[in-house]
């Protein structure tokens, strides 16, 4: 019953599609990290308007399912004249969604930074942006690295949803091959194994980064 030739035949195609999975999810996490940093700074700023904008952003993108967000960005925005191509809709929506989670992850890290440290930085004449990019973000990332790695692996898996806006990725290709060959078991097992390996590598890189940070801290 179990057919290994179909796995060997489909593996190069699945690997090719998994490149898109990696590209889309990591690009989104990178952009989402920038959005998250800005939104987190806004959330912790003294301006009530900025705090409100950030809170609304987080509650919307965390509160609405990613699948619905994708459908809105691709099928509903054209009705009001915003017609984005599939790839932009996919990356944009994934980035905005993960950005909301990263905002909250980083907020936890920011709140862990001793107030005295920021005061000291201000004393030596660093600007607000410099404090953010040179002190707060690096420290917050160190504090929250396990959660950020966690979020990245979640995004790799969540990227399986972007086929609804016409983007080919690993899950979509696996479905296409499974329904075309009528061999779903073998194909889905292979796709699952590829996701497992991708996230294994991400976890490993996270662990390496973490031990490097610890070395630096010990120095």
């Amino acid at each position: 019953m179990f057919n290994t030739t179909i796995i060997i035949k489909s593996l190069p195609l699945l690997l090719e599609a998994s490149v898109w999975t990696v590209v889309y999810s990591l690009t989104s996490v990178a952009i989402g990290f920038c959005i998250g940093t800005l939104m987190c700074a806004a959330r912790l700023s003294t301006s009530p308007a900025a705090r409100r904008v950030s809170a609304f952003y987080v509650s919307f993108f965390r509160g609405v399912p990613l699948l619905v967000q994708l459908l809105i960005s691709y099928y509903c925005l054209p009705l009001v004249g915003i017609n984005v191509p599939s790839s932009v809709a996919a990356v944009g929506t994934l980035a905005l969604c993960t950005g909301a989670y990263i905002t909250e992850i980083l907020r936890g890290g920011f709140l862990g930074i001793p107030a005295g440290l920021i005061e000291a930085a201000r004393m030596v004449g660093l600007s607000r942006t410099q404090i953010l990019t040179r002190i707060e973000v690096p420290l917050a990332v160190r504090f929250t690295l396990p959660s950020l790695v966690n979020e990245t692996t979640m995004m790799v898996k969540a990227s399986s949803l972007i086929s609804v806006v016409g983007v080919l990725e690993l899950t979509r290709l696996a479905q296409n091959i499974a329904t075309s060959t009528f061999q779903p078991l073998e194909i889905y097992l292979t796709a699952g194994a590829i996701y497992f390996v991708i996230n294994g590598v991400i976890t490993l890189l996270g662990a390496l980064l973490e031990s490097r940070f610890q070395l630096e801290a010990a120095r």
Binding site: K9, P12, I31, P78, L79, S163, Q175
Partner: protein, 287 residues
């Protein structure tokens, strides 16, 4: 913290990327504003490209072979593209997003194909039919308890959720006693898997699809002749909008020409194993 220069380079790159995304967003918004309500055929010809939405999970019409699109749709649209003098680009989407994509203007028309039904004709413009879509029963190879469609009475049968095929099965089930239990599936491949595993005894789907499956897996599946459903047809889909009329008329002209010179029959023979007669136009659907 040893490489501040490198970190600045990263920050600069990120800023640049953000700017790039913002610019492309604005640019595509501007594009969307232009060229609305322009004649679709003229637009397609000017662009030199016909964009077709479809799902590559509908063998033998659209599926994957060695990583590439294969099937009857590709070959019919090759003829359409040749006649219109444009390149045909297919966009693969899950079926529930294909028709919303058509309405949102993401592509010029939809391949599919879909069963031409009364309800759908009210909302969409179908092309001249390309195949017979009458619903039939697929059973496990050698299942002696089902020799005609009526034999599914009192048994467990599957079909695709929200499909025209399911609606026909439901109507047929009401005429049987005892009524069969109907299991609905998100996509037909799951129902085939359950049939193979023995969780259901039959699947109701359009004849071309199950005939192709039975041909691919002759030792697992078998088609129960004759089909039980009302005679219906498969057609490609476009919008009813005034600006799409010229394109749909042009596509119809190609398909009807293919019917009359035998090209369509040859494709049907290649993909279904038999040629089918289809009318030039379906003006009133039977279902």
């Amino acid at each position: 913290m040893q490489h501040p220069a490198r970190r600045y380079a990263v920050i600069r790159a990120v800023r640049l990327a953000a700017l790039g995304v913002a610019t492309s967003l604005v640019a595509s918004m501007a594009f969307a504003g232009l060229g609305h309500a322009e004649d679709l055929l003229a637009k397609v010809k000017a662009k030199g490209e016909l964009t077709v939405g479809t799902e590559l999970q509908f063998a033998p019409f659209d599926f994957i072979e060695d990583g590439k699109q294969a099937g009857m749709n590709k070959e019919i649209f090759a003829e359409i593209g040749k006649d219109l003098g444009v390149k045909v680009t297919f966009l693969d989407l899950p079926w529930p997003s294909v028709l919303p994509g058509l309405e949102a203007g993401k592509f010029d028309m939809v391949a599919g194909p879909a069963t031409i039904t009364k309800a759908r004709m009210e909302r969409y413009r179908f092309t001249s039919p390309i195949a017979d879509a009458t619903v039939a029963i697929l059973k496990k190879k050698g299942d002696g308890s089902i020799t005609k469609p009526q034999d599914i009475a009192g048994k467990k049968v599957g079909s695709g959720k929200a499909t025209a095929q399911l609606a026909q099965l439901q109507e047929f089930a009401k005429t049987l006693s005892p009524e069969p239990t109907i299991q609905e599936y998100i996509d037909f491949s799951q129902s085939y898997a359950d049939l193979g595993a023995g969780r259901i005894v039959a699947v109701a789907n359009s004849l071309p699809n199950i005939a192709f499956l039975a041909k691919q897996k002759p030792d697992v599946f078998e088609v129960v002749e004759p089909p039980f459903g009302k005679p219906v047809y498969f057609g490609f889909i476009g919008t009813k909008a005034e600006d799409a009329k010229s394109l749909m008329d042009a596509v119809d002209k190609v398909i009807i020409a293919m019917k009359h010179d035998g090209r369509l029959a040859a494709l049907q023979k290649k993909w279904f194993g038999t040629a089918m007669s289809t009318p030039d136009y379906v003006t009133e659907a039977s279902f």
